[in-house]
């Protein structure tokens, strides 16, 4: 059960990371680009099991 929840959790983290990267590519406003990058960092830290 715990393993299943963990796998789902990391899939969600990966999915949100992909959405953030997609939005980063699509947006034309530099403020949003900065925002997406800042928001992306903790997701990547979790995805790579660093934090």
């Amino acid at each position: 059960m715990e393993l299943a929840v963990t796998i789902i959790y990391y899939c969600l983290v990966g999915f949100v990371s992909i959405l953030l990267i997609y939005n980063l590519i699509k947006t034309k406003e530099w403020q949003k680009e900065v925002l997406y990058i800042i928001v992306l960092i903790p997701f990547l830290l979790r995805l790579f099991m660093l934090k």
């Binding site: 980063l24 590519i25 680009e33 900065v34 960092i41 990547l44 934090k51």
Partner: protein, 386 residues
């Protein structure tokens, strides 16, 4: 500026931030803490020797065994149950590096919850590590937290139901070593750890277990010995003797029978050992503290906590001198040594005698660093890492 070039520049800046922060977390999680094994250490075990399923996990900690020339009782010191209470770990460190048992046996655990040493409080702005100054420069220690690292035990339940009492506790405490006693062999990592430690206590026929802690000054259980009812006579003697001879106040209170998961309750109930828990004051943990820094951790000085004291909100005194780490560690070393002496008075047939560990006044006078040994000068085979 071309939008694509701008995006690339921002991405590179983000990558730099990610790499820097990632390296910081990675290194602090893996910081090696040296232990120069003292002459008194006669065996080093792994926790997995007592409970093999813990092998390969973050909590397969080292168990330092010090055997005296003469037989006697066995005392176990648990350091690092809550790594964010560093005086407990550091006091245990002084025993592992300096103690020589003359009578009886001493078992020292420096990282009872090693997983919790590899993480700091989320949102707590804790420093990732701290350094104890020493004549050879200084020794670095991981700061740690109260709870096991979520990377090692996850997810948390909605409500933590303690085993076997079925008492409802806060969900976070499913990762709190001192809410998971007596543990279970098929439980979470934290429960397996307490089960393994209890197996060690039972197999080694430990007579006394001392769990070393620190507490915030706003917490009523402070500067005290919490004892299982089996240890009331011993704790009372130790409390009175310390207060009388060493010059610091040390109270005594009973372990509540209906509060489960704590070492002072469950070790006493599930083994033959007397279980005691020592608390020293740590202003770093107070919710009303000011800036959370290494200096605050080590000096125990904090204007905001002093102000809280002036408003009568604290259960322990504090002034501008703070609660330096040397004072807090000295309280623990003296309390452990006094426990050995008082036990021997009551049980002369099973004595405990320990030499070469500094007491309260000596730790304050010389500092903890004077009793830590230079890892660069350790003899072959006498250097371990936590």
């Amino acid at each position: 500026m071309n939008a694509s070039i701008r995006k690339i520049i921002f991405c590179l800046a983000g990558l730099v931030l990610f790499v820097l922060s990632g390296m910081d977390f990675y290194q602090s999680r893996r910081l090696k803490e040296p232990v120069v094994i003292g002459n008194g250490v006669t065996q080093i075990q792994k926790l997995s020797n007592y409970f093999p399923p813990i092998e390969g996990t973050a909590n397969d900690c080292n168990i330092y065994v010090l055997e005296g020339k003469e037989p006697g009782a066995t005392l176990c010191i648990l350091g690092g149950t809550h790594p964010e209470e560093p005086a407990g770990r550091l006091a245990a460190w002084l025993f592992a590096e300096n103690a020589v048992m003359q009578k009886g046996r001493l078992i020292v655990v420096l990282s009872a919850n090693r997983s919790a040493t590899t993480v700091t409080r989320v949102g707590g702005a804790y420093p990732p590590e701290f350094t104890i100054p020493s004549p050879w420069g200084g020794q670095r220690f991981r700061m740690g937290d109260r709870w096991s690292n979520p990377l090692d035990q996850w997810p948390d339940p909605e409500v933590y139901i303690h085993y076997p009492s079925e008492q409802y506790l806060a969900y976070l405490d499913s990762r709190n070593l001192n809410r998971c006693w007596p543990g279970r062999p098929n439980g979470t990592l934290t429960e397996k750890t307490t089960y393994a430690l209890l197996e060690m206590i039972r197999k080694e026929k430990v007579d006394i277990v001392i769990d070393l802690h620190e507490a915030e000054l706003q917490y009523p259980v402070i500067s005290t010995i919490v004892t299982h009812e089996k240890g009331q006579e011993l704790a009372a003697i130790v409390s009175m003797t310390l207060t009388d001879l060493e010059g610091f106040k040390m109270g005594m209170e009973f372990s509540p029978k209906n509060l489960h998961g704590l070492s002072h309750r469950e070790i006493g109930d599930y083994s033959d050992a007397i279980s005691l828990l020592f608390e020293a004051p740590e202003p770093f943990l107070d919710a009303t503290r000011g800036k959370t820094t290494t200096e605050q951790l080590l000096t125990g000085k904090d204007d905001f906590v002093v102000k809280a004291g002036k408003h009568g909100l604290l259960f322990e005194k504090i002034d501008e001198k703070g609660w330096p780490i040397d004072v807090r560690v000295g309280r623990h070393t003296s309390a452990v040594l006094q426990t050995m002496a008082s036990w021997t008075e009551v049980h002369p047939e099973k004595p405990l005698a320990c030499a070469d560990v500094p007491r309260y006044a000596e730790v304050i006078e010389k500092g903890i660093g004077a009793f830590l040994h230079n890892p660069a000068l350790a003899k072959p085979g006498r250097l371990m890492f936590e």
